[in-house]
Symmetry: D2
Subunit: 303 residues, 4 copies
Amino acid sequence: MLSVARRPLSAAVPAGNLLGIHLFKCPDTVGIVAKLSERIASRGGNIHSVDVFVPDDKHVFYSRSEFTYNPKLWPRDELHKDFLDLSHYFSAQRSTVRVPDLDPKYKISVLASKQDHCLFDLLYRWREGRLPVDINCVISNHDRSEDNHVRRFLQRHGIPYHYLPTTSGNKREQEILELIQDTDFVVLARYMQILSESFLQSYGKDIINIHHGLLPSFKGGHPSRQAFNAGVKLIGATSHFVTTELDAGPIIEQMVERVSHRDTLQSFVVKSENLEKQCLAEAIKSYCELRVLPYELKKTVVF
Amino acid sequence: MLSVARRPLSAAVPAGNLLGIHLFKCPDTVGIVAKLSERIASRGGNIHSVDVFVPDDKHVFYSRSEFTYNPKLWPRDELHKDFLDLSHYFSAQRSTVRVPDLDPKYKISVLASKQDHCLFDLLYRWREGRLPVDINCVISNHDRSEDNHVRRFLQRHGIPYHYLPTTSGNKREQEILELIQDTDFVVLARYMQILSESFLQSYGKDIINIHHGLLPSFKGGHPSRQAFNAGVKLIGATSHFVTTELDAGPIIEQMVERVSHRDTLQSFVVKSENLEKQCLAEAIKSYCELRVLPYELKKTVVF
Amino acid sequence: MLSVARRPLSAAVPAGNLLGIHLFKCPDTVGIVAKLSERIASRGGNIHSVDVFVPDDKHVFYSRSEFTYNPKLWPRDELHKDFLDLSHYFSAQRSTVRVPDLDPKYKISVLASKQDHCLFDLLYRWREGRLPVDINCVISNHDRSEDNHVRRFLQRHGIPYHYLPTTSGNKREQEILELIQDTDFVVLARYMQILSESFLQSYGKDIINIHHGLLPSFKGGHPSRQAFNAGVKLIGATSHFVTTELDAGPIIEQMVERVSHRDTLQSFVVKSENLEKQCLAEAIKSYCELRVLPYELKKTVVF
Amino acid sequence: MLSVARRPLSAAVPAGNLLGIHLFKCPDTVGIVAKLSERIASRGGNIHSVDVFVPDDKHVFYSRSEFTYNPKLWPRDELHKDFLDLSHYFSAQRSTVRVPDLDPKYKISVLASKQDHCLFDLLYRWREGRLPVDINCVISNHDRSEDNHVRRFLQRHGIPYHYLPTTSGNKREQEILELIQDTDFVVLARYMQILSESFLQSYGKDIINIHHGLLPSFKGGHPSRQAFNAGVKLIGATSHFVTTELDAGPIIEQMVERVSHRDTLQSFVVKSENLEKQCLAEAIKSYCELRVLPYELKKTVVF
């Protein structure tokens, strides 16, 4: 597999200090980083990394900064206000600041269908402390017996499980909307239903999907079979934002693995599942670390 | 990059012996490997590896064997006759035997257009002894001055260069056919012309193409631009056999590289060119080592 | 990480047939593969792959073959007898034949200390069916409470757990020997004790260890700290056979990961643990699939 | 191979602007990035990336910044003065600023012995414009005929070649010192001589060496043979700064490749040479892009 190597969150946080992350999008102008870092310094904080992206001829400025600061000298609400100021000052279209060790974790719901490898992998990583989210519920259109291993896991950890069977006439979107309304974003862990435009508009927040093919190849159903029949030598998985166009939202991560003539449709599926798990987890982790921003119609910045 | 790791040709050849390679395709039955290895042993030779592929329910048997033998005990023409016998015995659809250190190298022609990175890379590998072929000529539909580095290289090594400019009305296929008729196979090193069905039939031998996209995505023109606009996080290159359907022949190799929001269309092209060179060279090398067999309509066995 | 890509076990087994694996070591001579495959064919079986290794000037022949056969035509005990015949015929030093879907799984004991990441990873893979072994017991010199997750797992699956605290004066080797006497091989999953020569001789079978360093660098204690202090840019893990010389037995697998100035000793340990798990699991899997043979004093053949 | 993926130099430089790089080391305090970026902004420039490293409890601050600016508004000598000011202000131990498209390239000398793969690879990359250096001369203690391919290459490009044969009694260090005195740093491209302490002190600038082993394993002579005899499954190469202790200077880059029982000592060497070339080129490129700083006694920061 061809792995990603994002720079990890800064570990060099002085004792008594906290790490803050700031994601920013505004019209391009001179001195944005200077202003940001000056404000942070004026509160006794220190920039640890800044990553700027200014697309050619687009006059848009994107940045992501990590900084450390002393929470006694810079209380959370003042920090918030300071960044709000900066946001107004630069007419920002987006300004998010997070202090991972202080702020509540992102709250998510996970939607799944019959295939549970991505769902279970998320739960497992969550339990190991490697996915910085709170899971408010799992919603599935596939029934699972009480002693199914997903059900047992959820029960043991007090996460509600909602079985909402869908039909072509009833996608249960209203009930889903109610269950997910308090979340920060939603994850489709191989949820095999297309969400309607009105659902997407009503929810209004980000939805991250995992597609078991190397988009834009192999959209729609049975991508592993499509890839198998096409005689490819590489298969892949793609995590992306959900938009109204099927499997065409901005791509966050892609992963690939080699296949050969010896691989069967079944081993394509096994290899794909392994990719899907890692690709989805990586996308969620990046999202929670404020690395991901949609960009133009079909693109993402992933700092 | 996600590299391939083919098992290298056996290096453990006893002094005075030679390495032979045998590629075989026939209806599946019992005892094929036994018969092959018995014949080899009866001549004092030894099997070093056998790789068999029998697709599910297809009743076809593919194998590739490497063996060492003493050429004094088993002269080349008798070796040939022995494998021909076996071929008849098993009603083989394909039986090729090569002794790389004895047989003439495969003779190829290379067709190119303006972009010369693949062409020059092939020439460079050839000079370094890493591509076991003889190049009988280079044909290009793009003019190059006498002191162009490709021209200089070819001149220094006595390889003819033919400039055959193409128009929509005249693809120069007849002249190309004459130039390539003595070759064992043909390589399209970014030759930006579609070859006609009648050309393919007249030539009748294998043609290997490099496509600068991860097929079946991004067929046709400007695949790097297509990929750039699609916001992919991975770009790739594909070497494949040429068939009458554009960019849809059986895939031999695929290679990928990561891209990010920081990549420009230009850096997509640079990364792609690097992939194309490696992907094409790997395909040619595999082909010459008798590892590659088309399989079903769109697939290949690559031992 | 730089992953290994062993060819998977042949999946193309005709209905009603079984896959057999044969590992062989004997003095080199002409016609060994021919004889093996002829015997298999005479029973209606078919070779699927043969891999031969004849080290330069060593006059030793190693081979590993996969074949499929009909168990009704070739009962297990006759198959055994046939390969025993061949073994005598070629004066083999080693001849092992396995039919994974018929033969009992290899029985192992796992020894561990305080760090349980390798132990738990093995148990998890075993439960998922990805490690073809039976675990007869887990032995630890570190106490674990009744509701420790390893203990719970073992209890749920009926695997005995033995707590045998060691002191410098009492390594509990006699008790360990009794517990492991029925096993096929033993796995040290970060067991932080050196086993005595007499223990190794008494047990007499293979013991596989995982070392959290890239041997022969960083032998002995605290290899992560040693690597950290040496300012390396790559860390690794090594699985190897245990011999009387500390951390110097024949290497089976090695895996590496990048580190940078940003990594702390703690993140070295985290990355190392991830490598250790995969490196140990891969070694055990290869061993069970008859791919591994010690070779010369310090080397292994890993087909 | 496990490749490195340094973030490439920022390509998003507005028309008429230039990219500047600044490397900084000073005692840690509050507001360093703020001060740096404010100064850049005050000249109409913009920070594109900042990467800070503050080792635990070391009270040292390292940073590397990329910025773009208009050279008409900020002439090179004023830019220089501004950063000198900052350097004084923070009592910096190190402050280097480079404008790659304006400043002269780093001037280097390359020392080589008989093995010329690294030397030739450097020359080739240099000619392709992929190594941003000027080569003032090549020094070798191995004779090469006039029509050797290295000699021809150097002659064609007007780079002096000095043959300085060494004996155990005469290392020719005085003559070498004279030849390299105008360089910015020196590259040992498999120069098989140990440089004396007085030589290192006299030169006083950085010397980058390539070692054909995975340090700290396999120091000294014949590392490939050492690795071969140790039965490793991974071989590597290491580029590092030269210090008075043999093969023990701070490591800049390391690269690895898989080997197996099939590899011979000769194929170890071939694989190693491939690693050495890439590892050395990567180190030089990183150095020229101001990414590399020695850190503590045996470590490097490689931004």
